[in-house]
Subunit: 685 residues, 2 copies
Amino acid sequence: MKLFKEAGGNCLATYIPWLIHEPTEGHFKFGGKTGTHDVEGFLETAAEEGLYVIARPGPYQYSELLYDGLPRWLCENYPELHAHNIKGKMIRQSSISYLHPLFLEKVERWFAAICPLLSRWTVSKGGPLAFTQFDNEMGGIHIWFGSLDYNAKTLGLSDPMGRFPKFLENRYREISRLNKLYETTFADFASVLPPVPLPTSRLAEIRRMKDFFNFYQSMLAEYANILCSLMQQYGIDTPFVHNSAGPSMNAWFKPMVDSIRYPFILGSDHYYTLGQEWGQNNPTPQHATQIFTSMEMLRVMGMPPTVFELPGGSLSDWPPITPHDAKACYLMNIAFGMKASNFYIFTGGPNIPGTGTTSDIYDYGAAIGPRGEIRPLYKIQKDLGLFLKKNSWLVEAEHETGVRVGLDFDMPIAENYGWEARGELAITPADSWRFIHRGILSTAFCASLSPTFVDLSKESWMEDLGTPLIVVTSAVMARPIQEQLVRFLKNGGRLLLLPVMPTHDENLEPCTVLSDHLNGVITVRNHSQFTRVTVAGVANVYMNGEVFFLENLPSDAKIVGIDEISGRTLAAQWKPKDGGEVLIMGFRWLHAKREHELMLISLVKNLGFKAKVICSNPNIWVTLRTTGKQSALFLMNLLSAPMETRVKCRPAWSKKMIDTKNHKLEPMSVKVILLSENHKLRYGL
Amino acid sequence: MKLFKEAGGNCLATYIPWLIHEPTEGHFKFGGKTGTHDVEGFLETAAEEGLYVIARPGPYQYSELLYDGLPRWLCENYPELHAHNIKGKMIRQSSISYLHPLFLEKVERWFAAICPLLSRWTVSKGGPLAFTQFDNEMGGIHIWFGSLDYNAKTLGLSDPMGRFPKFLENRYREISRLNKLYETTFADFASVLPPVPLPTSRLAEIRRMKDFFNFYQSMLAEYANILCSLMQQYGIDTPFVHNSAGPSMNAWFKPMVDSIRYPFILGSDHYYTLGQEWGQNNPTPQHATQIFTSMEMLRVMGMPPTVFELPGGSLSDWPPITPHDAKACYLMNIAFGMKASNFYIFTGGPNIPGTGTTSDIYDYGAAIGPRGEIRPLYKIQKDLGLFLKKNSWLVEAEHETGVRVGLDFDMPIAENYGWEARGELAITPADSWRFIHRGILSTAFCASLSPTFVDLSKESWMEDLGTPLIVVTSAVMARPIQEQLVRFLKNGGRLLLLPVMPTHDENLEPCTVLSDHLNGVITVRNHSQFTRVTVAGVANVYMNGEVFFLENLPSDAKIVGIDEISGRTLAAQWKPKDGGEVLIMGFRWLHAKREHELMLISLVKNLGFKAKVICSNPNIWVTLRTTGKQSALFLMNLLSAPMETRVKCRPAWSKKMIDTKNHKLEPMSVKVILLSENHKLRYGL
């Protein structure tokens, strides 16, 4: 704790594993001389050190404990609690069905034991306990082992008052409506079976899978509310927190965020290596677009973007988490708007004998080793902690926006429910979600466009009519979002729409509200093997991806992009009669070329984009974060080669571009430049 | 050419695209003032500059040309030539069925035009033409677009003398034997249909798919022989070369190498980035194990490992090929035994109008830009070229072997024919091929074990009884290889066998020759969710992968590894009565832990391993290459963080370990240390 404080830390997180505190059913073990069970002793010490605490009493812990931190007796003696796959088979012994009533009963008994102890130490009583986490990386315990949960008892199948039947009833009201969309003949909601999760392109099947996924999301939200309610009942009066398992799961918790009845922060866990099979083994640009998206999703959900598990080591020694890479990772997270973070883990230590799945020592390559040894990573964490402490204004700073990218929370979940083929649709939401990361955002960062996200389902972003809005579409766009975009245009907004015109609504029923407003323009896929594209005066922008041609353009539309081989139009811009300006482009790409940058810059300039940052080296990604008359410019070299660049920027408080001159960046490094009104530059880290 | 020579180059490769030389069928275009069609002028200039040339007259070129370099009239006017998928549909307009008689007729006419021109310039006539390449990255044009080729005419389906029926007849002799293995009732070989390529675990289906893949390999070999024959017929008297499209395709050409009747070098293309979707965007350790395996596969096929396309840029600007990373890549290839290389591409230039798929300028980020501009990459290539010229002894140097890894050429192709599930088998060859890369080799390089490959189907490696042999098995091992390993043991060899005992032969029929020799030992999969493993005194080696328990061990076997939870044996060592020593371990892992290194070192030490290299930092991978009394030590930092290490080595010519002291390595860099008998160290690059 002393080392943590010295490193600038102010809030510890600690698991309180159910596994060790209720080793035998109904017999609780707290306190004691060894310290391993002495929760209150830990809180007392934290209080003495002046540190806040996040308590993580579960039910789940994970953290490489046997049974993922659940008591063995629970997993072994109550098989009815196991989560099931669609075939009714157990997923895995320690993967439990969250809302099974018997499980919630056991959880209540556990909370009834632990929460009163914790409640004596909350901030409201002058104690250190600032936040309480419910569960851990919810949903992971199911999906990582192959399936969502189909436990029939939990779902309430066949029961008119059961969870799944009621969910469907709330959504469809009449069974005939469901049958029409599902192309089925169910007699009533209680008879509806969950869909078999198989890759498909049949709309009727996709509707069922999407509904089941939404239902699963609603179960996570319900579970969260129950856990909070139980903890409050047993005395916890802190705000609650939960950690999404990572960027790709943040959207799972949107219904939870929208429905939770308790003070709550949703954060995310941001690992870059836990082994060779992990997506990225380094904080690379591909990782960066994930982290950026994660942070922005949390922000537009109204959360202070918080990383509850920032890699403070890794389960693996190899590929290695080096202090050098970790530093780049931490600064990248700050560059993208992280407001708070916890290292997983700050210090290693012994596992309580017989509880670890990996080893008796839980090392994790943490900054502080299991025998208290201080490792090189500690210096990195300390430098960072002291820098953040010194520049506490950074927590207020916000990303300076050059362009906005529309976020549709239906998009990120599409890849989770088995929608793999397009069938009759032009392009799936999962395709477009990938395009956002590997096309739009990668190009935007190489082009220094300063992108940020807006939640298309909300109204607030509509106020800003000056900053262009990029909306990445798929064949599917909810009717309310289509209507919202029409309103945005009518208000005078400037919109870049790509790569297709939506043709279906949130129920996958035909819906062309947006197209109807835009002269009935449609997008038609190019099937030729050979394509050569010029857009906005930039030739040869096609190298990969996909082209769609525009039809039904209004006569006053300006042609912005064509396929040189067929001569057909793929991009056009015009001002609809009742307001605003729209640029539609039928092109989807993976960022690969300088031409992609030039193209996107031209397109957004056509819509009034004004540069916040000008960076001479496209391999250096930049963000500019400002509050009041202070700014921080983050220059990110997320590659393995050294780089040089010249960077200019215009913070909101500055009337002119500030030239920060030339910079050398080591491989995998982030440079922070602090700016204030007198234009003096200071180097942060 | 002058710049290439100055950079140490001695041999140019050039495409000669059919597309541009026979623009209209039967009308050939050579020479001319623009230079674009003047093949002989090019050769003359090369001769004047004293450079050798590799001619690449196709038929295919790829290289981002329209129709992949084939004439448009060929692809458009002769639909019968198209390669077909299993449903009889064209794969893609420019994907041709190699052995279609009409295609070979058109190819002959093209070769009859171009080869006589080339033949005037071969080395035997005092000219520069040293090698002629047939086709380009054979097979890619089919598989990358979704399918092997099932063109019925080419396959000769229904024809008793057809290619596919004859192939099957040669393999099975009696249709009844085929029917028994396929579980079918075909009347004769002519009636046998190619299998539908679907993922399966049914042995009968896998046999069919494996046969079809082997047949496809035989077509590649036949195509190669025909192309060489035609070129010789029209005057080419150089050796021939061909470039495998990359490490994962080298094994496709084993039958070609075994059956080709002409002087021939098979090489491979070694890209690390052509876009975001590419496997590795950097020369990382994961890329390195691929490159190492590729080089070793070529070597054990009897080839001087040659990289016909070493990245001299990339199709993409992003992720970038930086000179810094390229240097690490080039040196890594040399560290792993590259004997010759060609940059793809050395210089950009204009495409002949109307022939490029991407752009009128073919830039590729090459060292020499399309307008002759010299880019930073050139300096890297020049430094390398001059270093290699100065140290030409390196071409004779061979990797100093600490342990040998057995290579079964049936293993790398298993992932190519749809074998995805195990079914009744313990583990598939595709699983084991992955284990070789991400388990054995990664651990071996982190542990400085100096691994090399041997071809298990050959005899030569059997002479060395001192160096331990690691054989990564799957459930399937050809009977001759099982017999060979028994002989190796009887001769006194030392064998580490993992992770399972083979149960089936090359026809997927039961075969336990190896197990029978080893007391009938069998391996049984562990199904417990929790496993804790100690091997060779190293605790906690299990973190991922899979454990198999050993049964039927001889009474004198020494238990080397156990699962602490079940108490069951997973590794044991003994000396079979009739000779040799065997250590069997039922454990497969992805390299992740220091413990994995300690375990593997202990195991091979048990079998007589003697260290060639001792490197204090496991993140630095090392090879030691020696000829006579000279050696080069390659220290590879393939990570994005700077590293330090101390390295000792014992080349064959040295009686004692040489301490090369401490070294600092920049991120993504390879340091070359030259050693000779007087123990003086020199730094190479």
